[in-house]
């Protein structure tokens, strides 16, 4: 019950895209001043009794304090809510998007126990979009929520342990560089990984694939790398158009998909694969129980539940990745998982040992 109360309080305190700025409790008065419950109630158009009970509960979490009877002042925690834009997005996404989705997730998996369709999630039930559209489509129609989710995710994955440098420093790039090979970044957004790699390695050619809208909004690249980086509109649920590349790369992609769709994504590569082509995945890799502190393990396991509630997707163990490749096609040979020290993500690698693609020249 306590958690529900905190949820209400956070819901009222954090910024709500549907509510004007002045209605935010955290921003109801400046961090360097104080205000009475009555003043705050007037500012946010709520009843004073309710403002008082919400804020006094929040105070038990050190969000706001009451320096003298009836007078509210900020604390460090309420200041975070009032001033930190990234945390504002995070809290908003947690309490307005994730919380309602989580509350419907058991219902969703009772209705569809395989939990494999992104249109049959707790998120879909909570948004009345079951069997209609997946979360990304819902957010696609609502720029405010989409932006908030982007900000929330960036505030988590922009932190320590998620830097692209781990990927750059802990994989053998010299082989592909020495042969001037091709690297395909599937679902590569605006090509962040390729830009960093291109600055470090002078011979690799890059193709960044994403949906047309994302490709169209990619910023102009520096002249010294732009001739080696090509953007291409491509839906990774369909056949891979770049044939004969050396590395096909997925960062933050597979964990957005259930096995059903992840298997299809891997199989869509096969018509393009040459013998020896690598498939490299940069994602969370669930540890076996007890390998990390419960705190660290909880973060990654919560992320696994997030994927379930929002997308019917999942995080995977090393064994899960191995099975995924084996089931996709016996031609994939699983090479293993590397987790760089200090990094929350892992590098998962497989090599194609099946039939060579149908002989067309590589791009």
């Amino acid at each position: 019950m306590q958690s529900i109360i905190i949820e209400w309080v956070l819901l009222l305190i954090h910024s709500r895209p549907t509510v004007s700025l002045t209605k935010k409790l955290a921003k109801a008065f400046s961090v360097n001043s104080t205000a009475t419950f009555e003043e705050i109630a007037r500012k946010v158009s709520l009843d004073e009794v309710n403002v008082r009970r919400f804020l006094r509960h929040a105070m038990t979490n050190r969000i706001f304090c009451e320096p003298s009877p009836g007078v509210v002042a900020h604390t460090a925690a309420s200041r975070v809510l009032a001033e930190d834009q990234a945390m504002d997005s995070w809290v908003g996404f947690c309490v307005e998007d994730m919380f309602p989705a989580a509350s419907q997730t058991l219902k969703a998996i009772e209705l569809n126990p395989s939990a494999s369709e992104p249109t049959q999630t707790g998120f879909c039930i909570s948004n009345n979009t079951t069997d209609k559209e997946p979360m990304f489509a819902t957010f696609g129609k609502d720029p405010v929520r989409a932006k908030r989710m982007g900000g929330a995710m960036a505030s988590l994955t922009g932190g320590e342990g998620y830097e692209i440098s781990y990927m750059l420093d802990n994989y053998d790039w010299t082989t592909i560089d020495s042969t001037g090979g091709t690297f395909v970044d599937i679902g590569g957004s605006h090509g962040f990984v390729c830009v960093d790699l291109a600055n470090r390695y002078k011979n690799i050619k890059f193709v960044v694939q994403d949906l047309p809208k994302t490709v169209a909004s990619a910023p102009k690249l520096d002249d010294n790398i732009s001739d080696r980086i090509t953007f291409q509109a491509h839906d990774f649920h369909t056949e891979q158009p770049v044939k004969g590349a050396d590395i096909y790369f997925f960062r933050w992609i597979l964990h957005n998909h259930s096995d059903k769709y992840a298997l299809n994504m891997l199989r869509q590569l096969i018509p393009a694969l040459k013998k020896g082509a690598k498939v490299v995945i940069n994602d969370h890799c669930l540890p076996e129980p007890g390998q990390e502190s419960l705190w660290d393990e909880k973060i990654i396991r919560t992320m696994d539940l997030v994927m379930l509630t929002l997308l019917n997707a999942r995080e995977r163990t090393a064994g899960d990745f191995k099975e995924l490749f084996e089931e996709a096609d016996p031609g994939f040979k699983f090479l293993g998982v590397t987790r760089p020290k200090g990094c929350r993500m892992s590098i998962i690698e497989a090599v194609w040992e099946g039939e060579d693609f149908d002989g067309k020249e590589k791009v």
């Binding site: 958690s3 529900i4 905190i6 949820e7 956070l10 954090h14 008065f29 961090v31 360097n32 001043s33 104080t34 205000a35 009475t36 009555e38 003043e39 105070m59 979490n61 050190r62 969000i63 304090c65 009451e66 320096p67 003298s68 009877p69 009836g70 007078v71 002042a73 900020h74 604390t75 460090a76 925690a77 200041r79 975070v80 809510l81 930190d84 945390m87 995070w90 809290v91 947690c94 309490v95 994730m98 919380f99 989580a102 509350s103 997730t105 058991l106 505030s155 988590l156 919560t302 539940l305 997030v306 509630t309």
Partner: protein
């Protein structure tokens, strides 16, 4: 200043207390700055004069040891990390000694561990509560406000799944 008492090295105001700090420390602390009266909400008309105490409006995050209103928030008082760790050690020792001496089983996570604490005498009950409170407070402090808010929101958003599953 009738509500202000000193006891050993502690300044005690109303129901809370904290250690003295020297004047020089006070002056250096930004926490002790006082906002002009004009910046204070209407609430300042709350009748502080009744208590005969001149009310200095508080800065947020203040440690208001110079102010003597008796309703200062405990929430912004910050104990030192070591002080809290000391409380945890001291009170845990009391608790463990009692449990051993009275032949109680030690708490644990295993299936055979006791499911509840035994009925404790008042002082030991207080010691246990102190350990719980100080542990939480120390944890919150070393987590810091931003990360505390982050994980509070995150845990809250997952509560429905976990609670559903345990029902």
């Amino acid at each position: 200043m009738d509500k202000v008492r000193t006891a050993s090295n502690r300044l005690s105001i109303g129901s809370w207390s904290l250690p003295f700090r020297s004047n020089s420390q006070r002056k250096q602390s930004r926490n002790l700055s006082v906002v002009p009266a004009t910046a204070v909400g209407e609430s300042d008309s709350l009748n502080h004069s009744k208590t005969g105490i001149s009310h200095a409006p508080l800065q947020p995050r203040d440690i208001p040891i110079t102010s003597s209103t008796n309703s200062l928030s405990k929430m912004t008082q910050t104990k030192s990390l070591i002080e809290l760790a000391g409380t945890i050690t001291r009170e845990t020792e009391k608790l463990e000694r009692y449990l051993k001496e009275s032949g109680c089983e030690m708490p644990g996570f295993g299936i055979d561990s006791p499911l509840n604490f035994p009925k404790l005498p008042e002082d030991i009950k207080t010691a246990r509560e102190e350990v719980m409170r100080a542990t939480k407070e120390l944890g919150d402090l070393v987590t810091g406000p931003t990360e505390s808010v982050r994980w509070m929101a995150w845990d809250v958003s997952y509560a429905p799944v976990v609670e559903d599953c345990s029902n």
